[in-house]
Symmetry: C2
Subunit: 501 residues, 2 copies
Amino acid sequence: MSIENTIAEFKKYTDKFVALNMACGMFSWDMATGAPKGGNRARAVIMSVLAGEAFSLSISDEMKGYIDELEAHASELDEITSVMLKYCKKAYHSYRSIPVAEFMAYSELTSNSQNIWEEAKENNDFSFFKETLDKIIKYGIKFIGYRGYKVHPYNCLLDDYEEGLTVEQLDVFFSKMKQTIVPLLKRIQTEGKKPDTSFTTRYVSKEKQQKISELLLRKVGFDYNRGMLKESAHPFTMNFTRDDVRITTHYRENMFLSSFFSVLHEYGHSLYEQSKRDDIAGTMLDSGVSMGIHESQSRFFENIIGRSLEFWQNIYDELMEILGDDFRDITPEMFCSAVNVAEPSLIRTEADELTYSLHIMIRYEIEKMLISGEYNIDELPVLWNKKYEEYLGITPGSDAEGILQDVHWSGGMIGYFPSYSLGNAYAAQIYSFMQKDLDVLGLVRKGDFGPIKDWLKEKIHQYGSLKTPDEIITAISGEKLNADYYVKYLEDKYTKVYGLN
Amino acid sequence: MSIENTIAEFKKYTDKFVALNMACGMFSWDMATGAPKGGNRARAVIMSVLAGEAFSLSISDEMKGYIDELEAHASELDEITSVMLKYCKKAYHSYRSIPVAEFMAYSELTSNSQNIWEEAKENNDFSFFKETLDKIIKYGIKFIGYRGYKVHPYNCLLDDYEEGLTVEQLDVFFSKMKQTIVPLLKRIQTEGKKPDTSFTTRYVSKEKQQKISELLLRKVGFDYNRGMLKESAHPFTMNFTRDDVRITTHYRENMFLSSFFSVLHEYGHSLYEQSKRDDIAGTMLDSGVSMGIHESQSRFFENIIGRSLEFWQNIYDELMEILGDDFRDITPEMFCSAVNVAEPSLIRTEADELTYSLHIMIRYEIEKMLISGEYNIDELPVLWNKKYEEYLGITPGSDAEGILQDVHWSGGMIGYFPSYSLGNAYAAQIYSFMQKDLDVLGLVRKGDFGPIKDWLKEKIHQYGSLKTPDEIITAISGEKLNADYYVKYLEDKYTKVYGLN
């Protein structure tokens, strides 16, 4: 076969696991947005069969044949084929030693476990979830055993979400974070002038919040023709193809800012996914390159734009039309101060920018222990609570606001949390260089998001998974990820918000 | 390998195409209930890949191996395995001569064509759809060429929806229908006393109609834990597994009965799917056996129950609470008479029970021509209109209410329409024997649907695809499908409604 034919056949072959992964995604989307509960068990079996098929394709002899043949002609490959080959090779070597039956059993387990976790959280009872979680962790450990790792077993999982990321790097990263955040938080608490946040818990009906979601998405220009907004228990973004990217939010009537920032956060994810180049749309490169870069985009819209005074000034009049007299006493400045308050809290997703990394650090440290096998499942809630006491000075009053708060582990996503912190750091680094080209906050004040979106598309979004995180951030800033930008961003911001000097 | 192992491996293999078919179904459901339009094209590609995979599995050498091995041990197989083998063998022999690439191209075509048809219908312009339709028909003809047929090429397609059904049988069936319906319709029009239907077009808000849907489903006892009701352009039922069966309806504010009867119709389908035996749930037999039997269940709830005086008497008070003063002048008797009016009309889905079969006859005759290749695509609208003039005495004023009214052809479903008429006939035959065991309308009057549902489950629903239509109807009535029951049902009903003697 000519190399052109091999490439064409290889691409057709990868279309199959793209389609199978999409199908799993479609079932997940369906489950999260209202599928009948009675079908959960059968649906989990179907998803495990589909995931098993995709898995089998990635480690088949046919795949091995394509890899060998394409590698032999490496110099003749176009960029897209080369990168696809890289991912296929990585998956092949990573997964080929896991028995398909075990992978499918694991996949069925994680499909079912989301409902178990939900019920445990609703009933505020970790004991209902602990056996399932224990099984998930043990599968994680077992699979790492099959897959192999360098230095620390947790590195194997970190690499799944952020290529090349290691415990060594993260230890340095978090230690730098800790050195900045802990004293800054202390200064804020002792010397700072705490903004008034009392009005943020005023009642806002779900209907009004839905209108606020529409306002926000209209402002930033969400493409409804290629996406939609729905409700789910836990906000998320689901990208099927570049032309079908869906986001969700949830509404809490005494916490309208929760949905407000979720919508902006998920919008950031969706913009990344909707802005890819034509020639990678529909291929296996048609998704963001890493969780870290992805989170940089969501956090950019949520925090850097969404918590700026300029944004609140821009939306104020229209927002007031929705919020009505109940908020007539609140100025844009008051909103902006309130959404930038920093204080220890229990729930990660509601945490402020400053303390957020401490929440991640806790999960990072616990996950390292879990994956090393150094844990006692019954003692996890206590361990969790102790770490909150240690880093944040507060203790969860229940499992629901402690160990059970996050969905990730129920889906088998261990090693994912650190990417949230990387995302914040990437966002600060990107923002620093965007400001050299654009008057970012001036544009936000005018509601002119076009130039910002174009800039992101040119530097990041268009590539999907074509460029590595390192390539992207180096092209933008001339260096790899550097936490100093984020540290400086936090120091500048909170010095200002709290009137420190 | 022992035969037990072969059976186990064979079942695992069939799980794969069950899962792939479910995945295609999930994408269809998603598209029909609000997926972003911009993703349609990419979604069609994904669906074609999934359908192609399922298709490949059904004609693979591995499948051939299972068929040969299981046939060699036919006497040792349990009933479920035997029936699964029968279907796999039929599919294998039917499809193995179709090239996979052509099947996938066809699948992509029919995924895309639904949107094209929708647009053509919205714009009332057949020319927008005709090229696509022409391609679909030509694929149909081509595939029949690959697959082979007996006597008439259309038989090949009829058999897809109703095993063993032939043109010869249908010609007899429809000729009997025609001989009854045409003179009866004439008598009604000349001698009958036409019920007042003027109030059926009174405005009923969508919100009220949604409440009516809930009332109806509560009355008959829809299992929301294993199903849901949503909106779509065209009402339909989608069964994933026994424990996840979904129905849709549409709301027209000046035609509230349209949704009323759609809900009952789709409920009948859903009850069939939700009532299968434990041991076939999740297998490839976990769906109704044929379109004819399926339609018998939907038409039973829509017409035999839903248009009975007893049903209207039962729901009257609760219905009135929703409809309010606007309908205070209408008695249950007036409702019942109005919903049993018979007169020539243009739209099949809104047609009454008497003239319904004439609508089907027209489609049957046209499809026979299409599949024989005896058609001119440009002249189809005229041909359609002529037949309406001939059989019903009225002529569509536009493509939208003529040739473009049905979704079926856009999905490649040629040969499906006759099953609607078979469904009506099966329903009358089943009803005739159900009455020997139960005081059906007495139960309906009391709103006690349990015994009726139990009867249907025992005789029909539990089997899924395990028993053939012939086996089912013979076990109930001691004979095969016999149109006489239906003819008698129509004569009795309309003589009464129109006060003939």
